[in-house]
Each structure stands twice: as structure tokens, then as C-alpha cells.
């Protein structure tokens, strides 16, 4: 066990965990930020996507020891009132079905638009291809990313 100071959603939080603990479980078990989801544990589904210094990363593969000092943003901290343009677009297109993967989808989309505010269809597909939606809402996800890009 070791102490880590984490900057999560703009706040510094201290946790005492094994250094190998993936950030996913630190967020979920220790910081009660359960919006970031466990899907596969091997970085194949994207449900656990968060931002590390603005880049989309898979928190299930990121040891907490590697996250110290970085700006960590989770779905809970993406915007103050759930009104990030990507979240607004998700509302507009009423994207979710079961909803489990959507936090990861939104975090991936928000990071994409941060780097590339006007992505082509192909660029959207490339960026989003690592996020599985078992319910099959891909068309609405893509439409929402486009809507968000127009609003940015």
C-alpha cells in the first residue's frame, strides 16, 4: 500500500492503495466515482475511458502510480452541469439504450473533438472504434459526435 495524491476533476484526492491498482478501481472503489465503467479489464471495450491530461485513456490498464501528477477527468467532471457539447448532443439524439458504455463513448468523443473539432466520418469511426456498444447505438453516437462538432 502507498499513498497517492490524485488530481481528479480539478480536486486533489489522497488514496492509500497498492501501486498496481488500476485507476479504474481507485475511481470506483475508493473515490466513489462510478460513472467510469468496468467492461472487460483488458482495454478492449472502452467502457472505462477517462481523460489523462486531456487524452482519452483506458483506466483499467492505467496503474494508479502512473496517474499521479496528471489531470484526471472522469465523466462526472466533464462538465459542471452535464452540459458539455458532447453531452448536450447525446441528449439531443437520445443516444443511450442500456447506457452502460455511454460514459466511455462520451469521454472518447470529447477527447476526439478536443484534438480535432471537425472530424470527418472516417475520423469519427477511427476514434470511436475502440468503444463497444452492445446495444448497437453506433449510428446515434456518430450523429451526436457530428452535432457536437458543429456546436464547438
Amino acid at each position: 500500500m502507498a499513498q497517492f495524491n490524485l488530481n481528479v476533476n480539478g480536486k486533489t484526492q489522497q488514496v492509500d492503495v497498492d501501486p498496481s491498482t488500476p485507476l479504474l478501481w481507485v475511481l470506483r472503489d475508493h473515490l466513489d466515482l462510478v460513472g467510469t465503467k468496468f467492461g472487460c479489464g483488458i482495454a478492449q471495450c472502452g467502457a472505462c475511458t477517462i481523460h489523462l491530461n486531456g487524452t482519452a485513456v483506458r483506466s483499467c490498464q492505467l496503474p494508479v502510480s502512473a496517474a499521479e501528477g496528471a489531470q484526471i477527468t472522469t465523466i462526472e467532471g466533464l462538465s459542471e452541469n452535464g452540459d458539455h457539447p458532447v453531452q448536450q448532443a447525446w441528449m439531443e439524439h437520445d443516444v443511450p439504450q442500456c447506457g452502460y458504455c455511454q460514459a466511455g463513448q462520451i469521454m472518447t468523443a470529447a477527447a476526439l473533438l478536443q484534438q480535432n473539432p471537425n472530424p470527418s466520418d472516417e475520423e469519427i469511426e477511427n476514434a470511436m472504434n475502440g468503444n463497444i456498444c452492445r446495444c448497437g447505438t453506433y449510428l446515434r453516437i456518430k450523429a451526436a459526435v457530428k452535432t457536437a462538432s458543429q456546436k464547438l
Binding site: M1, V17, D18, S20, T21, P22, W25, R28, D29, H30, D32, L33, V34, G35, T36, K37, F38, G39, C40, G41, I42, Q44, C45, A47, T74, I75, E76, G82, Q87, W90, M91, D94, V95, P96, Q97, C98, G99, Y100, C101, Q102, A103, I106, I124, E125, N126, M128, N129, G130, N131, I132, C133, R134, C135, G136, T137, Y138, L139, R140, I141, K142
Partner: protein, 745 residues
């Protein structure tokens, strides 16, 4: 529930006690409401309960209970919407609360069979109409005006003659004390204001902001995390284990062997479980438990075959569980042997003679592999057993049935068990088999602590309850005029026979023969989105495409002629489809897709099917380049009766298309020595955004027929529409799922 007198107030206290259950992560009604509306009206000081579904605040805010579990079908919006329609509520002032399992107030709190809206249609409307009448009766008393003269409009009571107007909240306290009116009238469909218009999902805002909605998000003070280890192969059981390297790891509170369902427990259809002797690992946090799980070494031994007594919806049934470790090839041999001696389920006319007299016989054989449901939210459940009381919470499809198994296993009466239904991160049939709830409760009892059991992805994918492995041979006899004079199918599976003997083209062919078979297996299987239909539609509709081609007919015209015959002069009297509605969706998809005018460079295929009381037809437009499929567009034509919430219904149909295409192209699980050949998404290929259709258009047949289900019907036919389009693109017929192997091979 169609009797309004059954809407009682008896168990309201039970409901409210649960709502105040002291959870640190809120699963109370605020989690299910539309926050912007709450801000507008504010929270009421007091709630008045008018019946099991409805409570109204003095300020006019209305809470409507959603009775059924929600796993993405949109019932948490659509079911309360139906109540609100008859209540004549302003949807803006409605908040939705998830009901717990409450068999006094609600019936059929299930996800399954696409039945929620169909079966809920009258009870939900009656609940709304009864509450509306109570409010009218209250206003009548208050205003000293005849009830018949009082009308309602969007949350208001109005007495025109005296120029009186009050919102529902103003009459709610009086209404709650009045006797329940009997035989209330329901609205005429033409009076609907909410139903038939699109309304946003009540939960979207909570989903996109990461609120704790799912079972896996559940947390209680003092809660421990539990995981299990089950055998690595089907046909094996636990012999012994060594936890010396695990038990002293930090945070570990307990490692022990336990039994979930007892061997002699007469199981219901949904008590299927692969492994009952398990190792539990319990600790403070998930990562610590995962580390300990890896540090345990276990020895396994082969099971001795046995017979399991089951209760299949009231009928006793024996499940044969054979000895042995099954492999792809050993299963194939057993299936081929069983296919040699099928049983007849239906025989019309003289099929043998028809095939003898045929000018042309077409025979094709189809196969489909095991599938894993792969819900994105891994299996999990919270349980807290305290003495003779159980509190549990999590995602499951059939809480009422699971409660029975739980009660029996723990020796605690059903009345002492509370099940809170959290949102499901997908179900697709998998969460009908809630053995993990029993496991969670047994672990909690043993640890004397609240625990949350979590399966890893690997635990889930290797743990059974799969879609069966299927096989079917179809034969068609055409005469010299290319008329279909004989039709013969032999369908079977390991372990489930998928045959539906009375479905199309039964009834449309004079000489028809349907046979089926099954092979016992020690692999467990269960319902998988549109059970059996997901295979039968895929192969029947592929075969009909090929028969139409052999007969020199357009595939839609060919089906239409058969449906014409089934309508005008049906063979047999137990055909379980309506040929007119079946033809209706084909007509609709034909016109919407401009069938006959295929866009340049595009190949297209068509398919149609009837299951779960609804009709679906699809046209798939695609291109194949270098073995890569690009699906440009899919047209859906659906007849599910009246559509309650059109945009949500479209979303569901789009999802079914994507899911069906993904499964047809990539979905498979094979076994080697009882072990699945893939256990996570690195090898189990799921459809991703790039492979999804670029566009999906969904059209509904305009209908005033009472609504039927939509969670499943759009899923089965798309397999065949895809196969038929792939044939047009490649010249190859696809007989074996998943198609990816033959596509690139």
C-alpha cells in the same frame, strides 16, 4: 390487473420504506427523474398515493412508478408514459421512479419475450384512468359539481360551467381518501396526446453524467467485494483448492468453498446454472480480490453425468447432463447422429410424394455456433443477509422467479426478501438466469456482511448460459411451373431444438413437414434475444431467397405469393402468423427501399419474419471490397401495432439491426475439452462502429392495433437480409455463421 379494483393501496408502505432505505448512492426516485422539471416545480412537501403506480404532490408534481426492470428497451419511459396518458398528466411534471419487486401492486415485472408493453397496455392505462377518475371525484366533491361535468387537461381539473380550474396537486389529498372507482373508461386512441409522439428517455441525463444507476455501481456502508472461481471447463467440478498464497494478501476477508443452488432443488426454467460448487473470495476492494483470485490454485475433476429435474412453466422436465468434456468435433458427431432420427412436429399433405414428383429439389444445410450474451455490465449483485431478512439489489430480468430460488436456498420466506431492481447494463436473456443473486446471498450469509458479487468478463463468458449451437436442413420441391409444392425442414440443436413448426411457410405450402431433434449437453444454454427465432429466421429466410431464385422469381414476389395462399386458402389451422400483416411489412419495405431499383454499385437482400407478436421486414444494401463488407443502408419495416414512443422504438430497431449484423458476421464461441475458445473481447469479436451500417431507416406500419413488443422482432430477420445481400455481392451463399470465415476464406 385489468380489474381496476386490484389497484390497491395495501403495499404502499412497503414501497416507501424501500425508497428511504438509506443508500449512500442514490437509487431513490431522484435518480429516475428529469432534473430540469424538478427545478421548475420544486419538491412537494407531501405525496398523496392514488394507486400503486401514481403519487401526486400538493404542488402538482406527479411520480409514476415504472414496474419493469429497464435494460435499454425504454420501458422506464414508455410504461409511465402510458399511465400519464390516461391520467391526462402534463409529462413535463412527471417524474419516474423504478418500482422494486412488488407482486402485490404489479404483475409480470419481467424483461423477456418483448411483452412489457403488450401485457402492460391495459393495466397501465387502467392505473392512469382510475387515478384520473379519483381526482375528478375529488373535484366534484370540492366544487359541488357533477363528476360528469368535470374534465381534465394536462394536469388540470376543469369545471367549465363554474369557471373552476385546479391542478391535480390541489385535489390529490382528498382524492387519496376516496373509494377507488370501478370500471373506468379508457381513452379512445384518437384522444391520445402523449402516446404516439416521441418523448426523450427519462434516464438519458443521468446516464450521460455518470450517475450510479447500475447494479455494479451499488454501494452500502461496510460493503465487501466478492468474486467467484468456477471450473475452467464445462463437465468439470471443484476437487480441491490451495489458498495459502491468497488468504494473507492485503484486504482479503475470506476465501471459502460454497454451494449455490442445492442439487436436489427442483429448478424452474430460469434456475439454470453451470457450476454450483464455487470458491468465493471476499475482500475490501475489487483489485485486492482480483489479486487473491489469481493467487488461488484449484484442482478440478470430471463430473459424473446426472439428470436434473426442472419445472418448465408448470410442466416437469428432465435435463440430461452427460459426463465428458465436449469439443467442436465431438459435438458435431453427436449432432449429425441426432439429425438422422428427428421427430415430426408437423406434417401437412404428403410431402414425401411431393418431393418424388418434384421437377426440382433444393436442399441446403445451415449451422450456427454458440453465442455469449456479452452484456456490457458484467454479472453482479448486491446482497445483505441479516438473520432472516434479505436485502438485495442489482440487475436481473425476472426478479419474481429468482426470489423463489433465493428463498429456498436461504430458508428465508419470500416476504422477508426485498429485491431492488437497478438498471441493467444489457440483458438480452442472460440476466433471466440470476444464479449470481443466489451466490451473492450465500456469500453474504456466510460473511455476515453486505457484499457485492462481481464477475469478471472471463467469468461471464466462460460461465455458460449460452445461445445453443444449431443446425438445420431445408428442402424445397418445385414443380415444372416453379410452384412450391413441398417444403421440409429438419432443425435441431445442442442442447436445444430451435424448431417453430407452425411458422411461415407453414400454412402456405400444401405438403409441409417440420421435424426437430436435440442432443443433451453439459453446457448450459438459455434465452438469447429472440430465442430460437434468431436462428430459424436467419436460415429460413436465406433458404427462401435461394428457392425464389431457383423458381426464377423476385424474392419479395415469391413470399407474397405464398402469403396470398396462406391468407386465401391456408393449410392447417394452427399457423401462428397473420399473412396480411406479414405481407404488410414486405409491402412497406418494398416501397420504402424502392425495391427493384437497386442503387448503382450496391447489392441488396431482403428478409421478413414474425416473432414475439410483431412483424419485421428488412432490406440490406451493401458493398463488398477485398473481403470487407460495407453496409450502406438498412431499411426496417415494422408492424408492432400502435407505436407508443416512436423515436425510442426506432432506436431499439436500429440497435437490433446492428446487433444482428454483428452476430451474423462475427459472433461465435467454440469448445475444446469443455473450455470456451474465447473469454474476452480480444478474441470474441463484437461489431464496432466501422462495421455498423452507415444509415438505418425505420418505418412503422400505421396501426391502431394494441401495441406488441419490439425488443426482439427486428433482430432475427436481419441475419438473412445480410446473407442474401452478401450473395448478390459475392455470388456465394452463406450457410454457416459467423459469415466472416467464408467471406474472407
Amino acid at each position: 390487473m385489468s380489474n381496476p379494483n386490484k389497484l390497491n393501496r395495501r403495499s404502499f408502505l412497503k414501497v416507501s420504506a424501500l425508497a428511504g432505505g438509506g443508500l449512500i448512492l442514490s437509487f431513490n426516485w431522484l435518480a429516475g427523474c428529469k432534473p430540469e422539471e424538478i427545478e421548475e416545480l420544486g419538491l412537494p412537501k407531501e405525496w398523496f398515493r392514488l394507486n400503486g403506480y401514481i403519487k401526486i404532490g400538493e404542488n402538482g408534481l406527479i411520480t409514476i412508478m415504472s414496474p419493469n426492470p429497464e435494460g435499454g428497451q425504454n420501458v422506464k419511459t414508455s410504461m409511465p408514459l402510458i399511465v400519464a396518458e390516461e391520467l391526462d398528466a402534463d409529462w413535463k411534471n412527471v417524474v419516474v421512479e423504478q418500482a422494486p419487486l412488488d407482486t402485490d401492486n404489479f404483475t409480470r415485472q419481467f424483461i423477456g419475450g418483448s411483452q412489457a408493453i403488450r401485457i402492460g397496455w391495459i393495466p397501465l392505462r387502467t392505473a392512469g384512468a382510475t387515478a384520473r377518475q379519483l381526482l375528478i371525484n375529488a373535484a366534484s366533491q370540492e366544487w359541488n359539481a357533477p363528476a360528469a361535468e368535470i374534465t381534465t387537461e394536462s394536469g388540470y381539473l376543469i369545471h367549465q360551467a363554474n369557471n373552476k380550474r385546479a391542478h391535480f396537486g390541489e385535489m390529490a389529498s382528498l382524492a387519496a381518501t376516496l373509494p377507488l372507482p370501478e370500471n373506468v373508461e379508457l381513452k379512445d386512441i384518437s384522444e391520445f396526446k402523449l402516446i404516439g409522439k416521441s418523448h426523450k428517455n427519462v434516464e438519458t441525463k443521468n446516464i450521460i453524467t455518470g450517475k450510479p444507476l447500475f447494479g455494479i455501481d451499488y454501494k452500502k456502508p461496510g460493503m465487501l467485494i466478492a468474486m467467484i472461481i468456477h471450473p475452467p471447463a464445462h463437465g468439470m467440478k471443484l476437487k480441491s483448492f490451495d489458498d495459502s498464497a491468497a488468504k494473507n494478501l492485503p484486504g482479503i476477508k475470506g476465501i471459502f468453498e460454497f454451494k449455490s443452488l442445492q442439487d436436489d432443488y427442483p429448478r424452474t426454467f430460469f434456475d439454470t446454472v453451470s457450476f454450483t460448487d464455487l470458491i468465493a473470495i471476499v475482500g475490501d476492494s475489487t483489485w485486492q480480490v482480483l489479486q487473491a483470485k489469481k493467487a488461488i490454485s484449484a484442482e478440478w475433476e470430471p463430473i459424473q453425468g446426472y439428470e436434473e429435474k426442472r419445472d418448465r412453466f408448470g410442466a416437469p422436465e428432465i435435463r440430461i447432463v452427460p459426463t465428458g468434456l465436449e469439443s467442436e468435433e465431438s459435438q458435431r458427431l453427436k449432432m449429425e447422429a441426432a439429425a438422422e432420427s428427428p421427430r415430426t412436429f408437423r406434417k401437412d399433405g404428403n410431402p414425401e410424394q411431393a418431393f418424388q414428383n418434384a421437377a426440382q429439389v433444393i436442399e441446403r444445410t445451415y449451422e450456427a455456433p454458440f453465442l455469449s450474451h456479452n452484456c456490457m455490465e458484467p454479472m453482479n449483485f448486491f446482497a445483505h443477509v441479516e438473520g432472516d431478512r434479505v436485502n438485495c439489489a442489482g440487475p436481473l430480468q425476472k426478479p419474481e422467479l429468482t426470489e423463489q430460488a433465493l428463498s429456498q436456498r436461504l430458508g428465508i420466506p419470500v416476504e422477508n426478501i426485498e429485491i431492488e431492481m437497478t438498471r441493467l447494463g444489457g440483458g438480452y436473456g442472460r440476466r433471466s438466469y440470476a444464479h449470481w443473486l443466489v451466490e451473492a446471498a450465500v456469500i453474504s450469509q456466510k460473511m455476515n456482511a453486505p457484499i457485492k458479487l462481481i464477475y469478471t468478463r472471463e467469468d461471464d463468458m466462460s460461465g455458460g448460459i449460452y445461445r445453443s449451437r444449431y443446425h438445420a436442413t431445408y428442402r424445397a420441391a418445385l414443380d415444372e411451373n416453379n410452384q412450391l409444392i413441398g417444403f421440409h425442414l429438419i432443425a435441431g440443436g445442442l442442447p436445444e431444438n430451435p424448431l417453430y413448426p407452425d411458422r411461415f411457410p407453414a400454412g402456405a405450402v400444401d405438403n409441409y413437414w417440420a421435424e426437430g431433434w436435440e442432443v443433451p449437453s453439459n453446457l448450459t444454454t438459455g434465452s438469447f434475444r429472440a430465442p430460437r427465432s434468431n436462428f430459424m429466421a436467419a436460415v429460413e429466410q436465406s433458404f427462401l431467397d435461394e428457392v425464389a431464385e431457383a423458381a426464377g422469381k423476385d424474392p419479395i414476389d415469391f413470399r407474397m405469393q405464398l402469403l396470398e395462399k396462406a391468407k386465401a386458402n391456408p393449410v392447417g389451422d394452427r399457423n401462428d402468423y397473420d399473412p396480411e400483416r406479414y405481407a404488410g411489412v414486405l409491402e412497406l419495405v418494398k416501397s420504402k427501399s424502392n425495391w427493384g431499383q437497386t442503387p448503382a454499385g450496391i447489392s441488396r437482400g431482403v428478409s421478413a419474419y414474425f416473432c414475439h407478436n410483431s412483424y419485421a421486414a428488412q432490406v440490406v444494401d451493401l458493398k463488398v471490397e477485398n473481403g470487407e463488407v460495407q453496409i450502406d443502408k438498412v431499411f426496417n419495416a415494422i408492424d408492432c401495432g400502435l407505436v407508443v414512443n416512436p423515436d425510442a422504438a426506432k432506436n431499439l430497431c436500429e440497435g437490433a439491426v446492428v446487433d444482428g449484423i454483428g452476430t451474423a458476421l462475427f459472433g461465435e464461441l467454440k469448445f475444446n475439452q469443455g473450455m470456451p475458445d474465447r473469454m474476452n473481447f480480444d478474441r470474441y469479436r463484437m461489431i464496432r462502429m466501422k462495421e455498423a451500417p452507415k444509415e438505418i431507416e425505420t418505418h412503422f406500419v400505421e396501426s391502431q392495433i394494441d401495441p406488441t413488443g419490439l425488443g426482439e422482432p427486428a433482430y432475427p430477420p436481419v441475419f438473412a437480409a445480410l446473407a442474401n445481400a452478401l450473395y448478390q455481392a459475392t455470388g456465394k451463399r452463406f450457410y454457416k455463421q459467423p459469415f466472416i470465415h467464408e467471406l474472407i476464406g
